[in-house]
């Protein structure tokens, strides 16, 4: 095969796998930010918290990181409902969520990050699953399991969430909350309860993403920072409230980054990715995959 073509194909495939990790990180945010309108800028920090607990619990129990991520998800769900209760009490009820709510999550992010440094120190922590150093090869295409497994795991989680949102009553209620909270109230459903539940799910997804992150790379307290810009960009490009849009945007983002890195050098890949987002915001603020308002 033509060497440039091989490079391109591999760039696209590795971009899709990277996009899988981004999708894992962004899907929780798509629920909180896209559907509930809660600008949880602390989401990547919570993901890294999940990654640290995965390392600690996984090392202690001798289990696979992704399994631990699933097992600890209920705890993160509870943490999420707790955070939402505080957020609702102090900000949403007062109608001050825009500015103060944003600042609140900014503060939470800071507290989490510094808290992780104080508990675990600034060093890297890791937990390798058994398949960490295996690579599958399809002809000229490489599929390292380190990237493939987290990507598939992310797709499974997001798929399950998608089915849940579209098939179950509570899921439909969450979608309704995103549209019109008052209508729900008329149906005798408490929108606050629904939102609390949904935010809990969003944080449980942060735990899953943390597990995926541990498989991909060692973690340190500041690991979340590189994801902040990326996952918000993905949510916006994906058209906010749409999970399929979010996944598409994540994959596209990964592919753009990796193809740029392959052919033009990695120096420019963040500028290309974020410059692209700026253009999307400027000319198509409803997102690439969103419907026009």
């Amino acid at each position: 095969m033509d060497p440039d073509l091989v490079l391109l194909l591999n760039g696209i495939v590795s971009g899709l796998l990277l996009g899988g990790l981004y999708a894992a990180a962004a899907s929780g945010l798509a629920v909180a930010f896209g559907m509930l309108d809660i600008v949880n800028i602390a989401h990547p920090a919570l993901m890294v918290t999940g990654a640290f607990t995965v390392v600690v619990l996984g090392t202690w129990l001798g289990l696979d990181p992704l399994l631990v991520a699933v097992l600890q998800a209920p705890l993160f769900y509870l943490l999420g409902t707790g955070i939402y209760s505080a957020y609702h009490h102090f900000f949403e009820k007062r109608g001050e969520e825009a500015l103060q709510g944003l600042a609140f999550f900014f503060g939470v992010m800071f507290i989490i990050e510094v808290g992780l440094v104080m508990v675990f120190g600034p060093e890297q922590h890791f937990l390798d699953p058994s398949y960490a150093y295996t690579t599958w090869r399809l002809g000229e295409i490489d599929l390292p399991l380190r990237m493939l497994v987290p990507a598939l795991f992310a797709m499974a989680c997001i798929g399950a969430l998608f089915l849940f949102l579209h098939r179950s009553f509570v899921g439909l209620a969450i979608a309704a909350v995103a549209q019109d909270a008052d209508a729900l109230r008329l149906m005798a459903i408490d929108p606050v309860r629904i939102k609390r539940f949904a935010f809990g799910i969003s944080i449980a997804l942060a735990s899953m993403a943390g597990g995926a992150l541990v498989v991909v790379q060692p973690v340190e307290p500041s690991s979340g920072q590189v994801f902040i810009g990326r996952i918000f960009a993905i949510c916006i490009m994906g058209g906010m409230a749409s999970l399929p849009g979010c996944v598409m945007a994540a994959l596209l983002f990964g592919v753009v980054e990796n193809v740029t890195a392959t052919f033009y050098g990695p120096s420019w890949s963040p500028a290309v990715a974020f410059g692209w987002l700026l253009l999307v915001l400027a000319f198509r603020p409803q997102g690439l995959f969103g419907k026009a308002a």
Binding site: L99, V114, G229, P270, F274, L281
Partner: protein
């Protein structure tokens, strides 16, 4: 005496008292600590113009500040000009950057605007890192003269410059608040569509605000390379500036000219004190908790807290 005259006279008097008492103290550390606090007064006041009055949250404060710092470096490299022209040039560059950002992003409402400013900071940082003329990722060195008469030391000079800038920033904030610009921005914050409907020229007002906000942030950053003698992109685009630029006005009381001043003096002094006393990660932790507790319990900041009680 008009209130305006009273404000400027009062500010000048305060500055003079501050300057003389620090000189009596005769200690360079006081100047450095003072500079640290005052740069945040400028930065917080700048953020407040857009964030406090109009409700547009700028996450990219560090980007604008770095633009100012690097503008000063470029001017020095290209023409050999020192700090004061550097500040003017920084205001120009960062102001234009603000205007450009405004054009690109101000059709975005609320949080979209915030995310766009965050992206802008990333793009700017990438550009600076790849721009060898200003040192690129290696950073730029600025060797300043050891003495600069009539000041006793360069630290004192920097402090006085920043003091003047801080007073100007607070004064500009106050002027905006009392002008039709400020009232227009407040109308935008309360309800942008309604403001538009009654004929407030929202886009133009916002553009003026982003330009002013950008220019002031640039001004806050221009002395930074002179202060530290060395500047690399990581230091210039430090997350600490972005966090503090938001935290300080909110803690002091956003949407008033005095709020950012109070917040900056309080929070920056606390950080400076914590750096040389507690001196561990705990220091930053306190800032995070202060921010969370203040926005939760005192949503109008310290000022709002006082105003509620007659």
């Amino acid at each position: 005496m008009t209130p305006n005259l009273r404000f400027w006279l009062g500010a000048a008097l305060l500055a003079l008292v501050l300057f003389l008492s620090l000189r009596l103290l005769g200690n360079d550390y006081a100047y450095f600590a003072g500079y640290f606090v005052l740069q945040y007064v400028v930065l917080a006041s700048a953020w407040n113009i857009l964030g406090g009055y109009a409700g547009y949250v700028n996450f990219g404060a560090a980007g604008f500040m770095a633009a100012g710092a690097y503008a000063a470096i470029v001017l020095r490299q290209a023409l050999g000009l020192e700090l004061l022209p550097g500040i003017l040039f920084a205001a120009l560059v960062a102001g234009l950057l603000g205007l450009g950002t405004g054009y690109l992003t101000l059709r975005l409402r609320g949080v979209y605007f915030s995310i766009a400013t965050l992206c802008l900071a990333v793009v700017l940082q990438t550009l600076v890192v790849n721009w060898d003329y200003v040192g690129g990722s290696r950073g730029a060195y600025i060797v300043h003269p050891r003495d600069i008469p009539p000041f006793t030391s360069y630290a004192e000079y920097l402090f006085v410059v920043m003091l003047v800038l801080a007073i100007l920033a607070a004064g500009i904030g106050r002027a905006v608040e009392r002008s039709s610009l400020g009232r227009g921005l407040q109308a935008i914050r309360d309800n942008e569509r309604a403001a538009e409907a009654v004929g407030v020229p929202t886009l133009r007002l916002k553009l003026v605000a982003t330009t002013l906000c950008g220019a002031l942030m640039g001004v806050a950053g221009a002395p930074l390379p002179y202060y530290s003698g060395y500047l690399n992109p990581e230091a210039a685009f430090s997350l600490a500036y972005a966090v503090n630029a938001i935290a300080m006005p909110l803690i002091g009381g956003a949407g008033t000219w005095a709020g950012p001043v109070i917040g900056a003096v309080l929070l920056a002094s606390l950080q400076q004190a914590a750096t040389v006393t507690i001196s561990s990660a705990l220091n930053l932790w306190i800032v995070g908790w202060m921010l969370v507790i203040f926005v939760a319990l005192a949503p109008k900041g310290i000022l709002g807290w006082f105003r509620r009680r007659p």
